[in-house]
Symmetry: C2
Subunit: 482 residues, 2 copies
Amino acid sequence: MSAPAAELSVTVSPLSPGPTVAALLADAQPGETVTVRGWVRTRRDSKAGLSFVELNDGSCLSNLQLVLPHELKEFESRAAPITTGASLVARGEIVESQGKNQRIELRVDDFAVPGGADPDRYPLQKKRHSFEYLREIAHLRPRSNTFGAVARVRNRLSHAAHEFFQERGFLYAHTPIITTNDCEGAGEVFTVTALNAAKLAEAAAAGDFSRDFFGKHAGLTVSGQLEGEVYATSLGPTYTFGPTFRAENSNTPRHLAEFWMIEPEVPFCDLEGDMDLAEAFVKATLAAVREDCAEDLEFFAQRIDKTLPETLDAVANQEFVRLPYTEAIDLLQNSGQSFEYPAEWGHDLQTEHERFLTETHFKRPVIVHDYPASIKPFYMRMNEPDEQGRETVRAMDVLAPRVGEIVGGSQREEREDVLVSRMKGQGIDPASLWWYVELRTYGSVPHAGFGLGLERLVQLATGMQNVRDVIPFPRTPGHAEF
Amino acid sequence: MSAPAAELSVTVSPLSPGPTVAALLADAQPGETVTVRGWVRTRRDSKAGLSFVELNDGSCLSNLQLVLPHELKEFESRAAPITTGASLVARGEIVESQGKNQRIELRVDDFAVPGGADPDRYPLQKKRHSFEYLREIAHLRPRSNTFGAVARVRNRLSHAAHEFFQERGFLYAHTPIITTNDCEGAGEVFTVTALNAAKLAEAAAAGDFSRDFFGKHAGLTVSGQLEGEVYATSLGPTYTFGPTFRAENSNTPRHLAEFWMIEPEVPFCDLEGDMDLAEAFVKATLAAVREDCAEDLEFFAQRIDKTLPETLDAVANQEFVRLPYTEAIDLLQNSGQSFEYPAEWGHDLQTEHERFLTETHFKRPVIVHDYPASIKPFYMRMNEPDEQGRETVRAMDVLAPRVGEIVGGSQREEREDVLVSRMKGQGIDPASLWWYVELRTYGSVPHAGFGLGLERLVQLATGMQNVRDVIPFPRTPGHAEF
């Protein structure tokens, strides 16, 4: 027992918070006196007059073992609320652990329980719960091992994205969320309105939103790309990182109504440079996670997806395959594989085709590029027609084993006349995007960029199968709680 | 003239892009051969057979001076499109500059103009334009000195925010944008719907959104705080950084319908710790801008706000004043100052009060804390009533000279019974926020956090007066173009 110490403080300044569990497990030496703050994962009482508490503070997957001697003042009553889920502040001395599962433990000399968790009601008991059940208690699921680990990996990937671009001199630009561009083209758009019910009913019936907040029909963005191009063609390499939306009524493990996209855009860049950038980005962000979240990745490999280390090795150590779409179709057609939907030039690749390429044939990420113009949006740069007169655009998709398309990008059409004619061909009035066209009227440059869905990257890093389990509060048809 | 070189490439890989103008102006030595890519700010032709071009690539405020000898092959026709706004790729040798405005210049031996800019039509000529005019061409305004500088400062502040929290072990959590919580309470909320016009008219008329995408009425978030608390009370210090929305019909230089908020949330933290964190955050992010955007800040001090250096010094070098609300009211009442709205206990501070405190009286940032409970939301922690029986909450606002409230925060009410009673007192059904209440049912901890509007911080750093000029594409009543 160390000497009697000052009163235990439940709160602490965030500027000098004391050591986290992660820091203690890594570095603490026997003899140090420390105070820890966190939540109880388990409690076990021994007949030898000791209680063992596993404390987690979110800094890492592992818990710190606390040993509470029953001779502490009023132990029984004060320790009664120490149950799974309770919050706990404990001070004591670091000692070498007698147990074989940990290097050190904390011999507690004082403690406080700011908040208990009634064991009869606490919804997150020690037993394993299904992911479906945990989605219903999304406010508590970060207290589980899996969702704590997902949160740390997602955080590390997000910051690695910023680091990657900032180190290379890219500007972070906040492109708008509410937009009146109704031709971005990627599926269904949510409507945004500030009208009250009566006026909304009127406006919707008349199809006239001129008295709405923005003076016309407004929606939630499906991509920051078009506005990102504004910054890239003024100020150099740019990226956005923000939420995007799809009002698709898709109830699948791959779809969210709200998700986070990272979209770099680079002037004086062609499709080759774009593919270089995408490959470097995926490798760098995953490398950061392997470096800094090793314990979490080990957990995912054990509990979620045994093939995870192999997949991450393949991404890290091998060049991504670069495969023209036309060659991809040939390869699929001559593969001897029987697909539900046979591969055919002019059609998008199906999931089964993507999986064959990345998991069976190449066993690593594949960048398919130069897709048929007819299946791609107006802003992608047109190639010269091939020998057979087929039209393609300078598009590329990065396909990853298991998660499929993780990046979609293109060189953009920088020729005003070609752009305008493509818009008209797709039924888009160039006047509705006059400002986008004007980027080509004044000081146009070849430029390229891509979009990467953060959730897909988290899935690639963790092996989590359902996209609803890699975002804190998933929005899907029928679900926008919390 | 250097030796004939390989063909000039308009594009370059973003992984090895060559030196930026900023890098060249800082470090380039005479004799180096470099290729630069950017946009023409001005062109001047001398009778001595030289053309002088100021080239900007967005990497810094300054331009690189290019000197193009007229004896270059087919100069006249090839250089004809070199006018303000055109894009330009130029290769040549760095030489000491003869002019007095720059250390070095580029003696060009080859060049290409990917895109011209018809001088009769280009909307952004060399002359100064009003900010009002520039808002109408938001797709071109980043090409002006002011908006380029704003973009760089905004980028630096944004990344400094991430660095600040990541270095301190905070987790970046993406809280939801679409929400069905209709009681967050900060003003008017935009409605989000996926119904088509006919069904929308029906749903709005009936006030029944059960057949809408999310099965009930959904809106755009006004704050990520409530969900941030979920993460902070599970995993430790957390922050969010994302867009938030207000459907207030306010046409002022201080209001946006869409803006970016940074919201840290810290467990085991009280109001003191919260104020420590806010002060450290503002100081650290502004220090990063002073360190890395010195040239831009000098520009703002010269052209936008002469008092800027003084304001930034006051923020950097002095402790923020910490002033209880009750003392603030006394101080204002005894100031001898005549205000349009006299200060009165129980009412919010007016802009004139804030300015008196920060600009006249203390001449530095002031944190006013412990506000009357009646003017603050349900989630702020109740104090014991004061001697006069007045009720206050553990709220704090950081007021900055010139921009006013830049941070609003509080210690949160962690006592379930008090929280529920405050909700009822404000007409909020606790069942509608059952999950938020449950954070107090299970393992509750004292915790605190704040929200900081990024745009206010950019205004503080730059002296820009209108909030519409510090966000790329402002959304205000009647305006959601681009």
